[in-house]
């Protein structure tokens, strides 16, 4: 392998990654539910160096009215990065990447939310990335799912998301920014943990079929770790210390 511009060691001989984690170790995850007063539901997540705020409104009247569906509710999602969320100022206008992520997050949440109970309404999900550090779509999805539960919108299951990828020919859990830039593959996965169904899977990079299987298994195990944090966030808000 040739020497790259940034000469970081992604994985050393002892199996330690560039930020000091083991290959199957996620970054630090902290979620807080109900942080905004004016939204029906909200959540704040810190996923490594990612800092993301999600707010949910609804179900409420659809405007413009022609978007309304007479036999089920609809969902709209906006993923937006603040200009100061990255090291070089980001233009606040929605970029191609943000539009794509808004779409995939919406499609990852839709199977979980029981929109058929609320015909002619809309559930709006707003996600603001305050600080980005690789894997922000997964973190945003985790926060959005907690915000939806906080808003009391009926859900079949939570949605937990975590990425896995290939770095220095090894499958690792929860890719950070450096690994995303320099690594060989990145695979975000979202899971409904109790139903065992995957609602989002993307892959950027090349994997062999065996690596692909292993990558999914690794990401799913990460999703289950995230799920525990999401559960605790909701329990903390609604049941206080008396939670079972």
């Amino acid at each position: 392998m040739g020497v790259r511009k940034t000469d970081i060691v992604l994985l050393d001989d002892k199996g330690i990654r560039c930020d000091g984690r083991k290959i199957d170790q996620p970054r630090r995850i902290m979620i807080k539910a109900g942080v905004l007063k004016n939204a029906n539901g909200s959540a704040y997540i810190e996923f490594g160096e990612n800092k993301i705020l999600a707010g949910v409104f609804g179900p409420r009247d659809v405007h413009p009215k022609h978007l309304a569906n007479t036999d089920r509710g609809i969902m709209r999602c906006r993923y937006h990065m603040q200009p100061y969320s990255v090291s070089e100022r980001k233009n606040p206008a929605p970029s191609r990447r943000e539009i794509e992520i808004s779409k995939v997050i919406k499609e990852a949440l839709e199977p979980a939310v029981m929109l058929e109970n609320f015909p002619r309404t809309v559930v709006d999900v707003f996600i603001e990335v305050l600080q980005a550090d690789g894997g922000s779509r997964c973190a945003a999805l985790d926060a959005a799912a907690v915000a939806l539960a906080d808003a009391g919108i009926p859900m079949r299951d939570m949605v937990s998301a975590c990425a896995a990828g290939k770095v220095a020919d090894t499958i690792v859990l929860d890719i950070n920014n450096e690994e995303d830039q320099e690594g060989q593959a990145d695979m975000p996965v979202a899971l409904m943990p109790n139903l065992g169904k995957i609602t989002l899977i993307q892959l950027d990079g090349v994997l062999t079929p065996q690596e692909y299987e292993k990558c999914i298994d690794t990401a799913v195990s990460g999703c289950k770790l995230v799920y525990e944090v999401q559960k605790n966030a909701l329990r903390d808000k609604f049941f206080g210390d008396g939670a079972q």
């Binding site: 009926p154 943990p193 079972q244």
Partner: protein
């Protein structure tokens, strides 16, 4: 009654498996019964349900609700009933059968912002819920202080056979009207009583999941009056 099993759940939690009937806020997946809302699950005789701790009001026929007038057309008012749908109050309900949209001004009876005690007359998936004021004790609410609660906390505010609400009313001499949709109107001649009643209701909202809340409210109201 005591053989009901309760536990705190969040969406996705498997409450139980087996031949139970899936009632409110749960769904059946294979043989698993899964919660769909944050709340307290109850497993009784043959059914399973979740009492939600958050979420909007879903109109049900015959519910008593308090609405806030949002707007009107020439034939009906639109009321905010704390739901994802607006409550429709037909003008003929207020003006009577000889209502004539050419002559009768809707604003002469109910203006934007007015509070109305009403009942859900009809509600289904296909249209906005129809509400009515043609019954005893229904109609415009002339005075009082509005408090907005989560609809899920209403049963707690009423208490077992009305114990909680009676405690508050007796201690503060306030008159409390509770809508199933979580809107509550408190009125009292005595401003101190009004403030005490408002405090008590806020306390019920904040501590809805705490056991023996009625005694705590009694204590709080008792200590305040001394």
């Amino acid at each position: 009654m005591d053989d009901i099993q309760r536990k705190y759940v969040i969406p996705g939690d498997v409450i139980t498996t087996g031949p139970y009937r899936a009632e409110e806020n749960v769904h059946l997946f294979g043989d698993k019964i899964i919660a769909t809302a944050v709340g307290v699950s109850e497993v009784f005789d043959s059914g399973v349900r979740v009492i939600p701790l958050t979420g909007r009001y879903l109109p049900r026929i015959d519910d008593f609700v308090i609405g806030i007038v949002k707007s009107h057309t020439s034939l009906s008012w639109e009321l905010d009933i704390n739901s994802c749908y607006a409550g429709i109050l037909p003008a003929s309900d207020v003006f009577g059968r000889d209502f004539d949209p050419k002559v009768d001004q809707l604003t002469s009876r109910l203006k934007t912002g007015d509070l109305v005690a009403a009942r859900i007359a009809n509600s289904d998936r296909s249209r906005d819920p129809l509400i009515t004021v043609s019954d005893r004790d229904l109609g415009k609410i002339e005075e009082g202080e509005l408090i907005k609660l989560s609809p899920s906390k209403v049963p707690r505010l009423i208490g077992k056979r009305g114990s909680m609400i009676q405690t508050i009313e007796n201690a503060t001499k306030a008159i409390i009207t509770i809508g199933q949709n979580g809107y509550v109107v408190v009125s009292s001649e005595d401003p101190d009583g009004l403030l005490k009643a408002l405090d008590a209701i806020k306390m019920v909202e904040e501590q809805a999941h705490v056991p023996n809340l009625t005694e705590k409210i009694q204590e709080m109201l008792g200590s305040n009056s001394e």
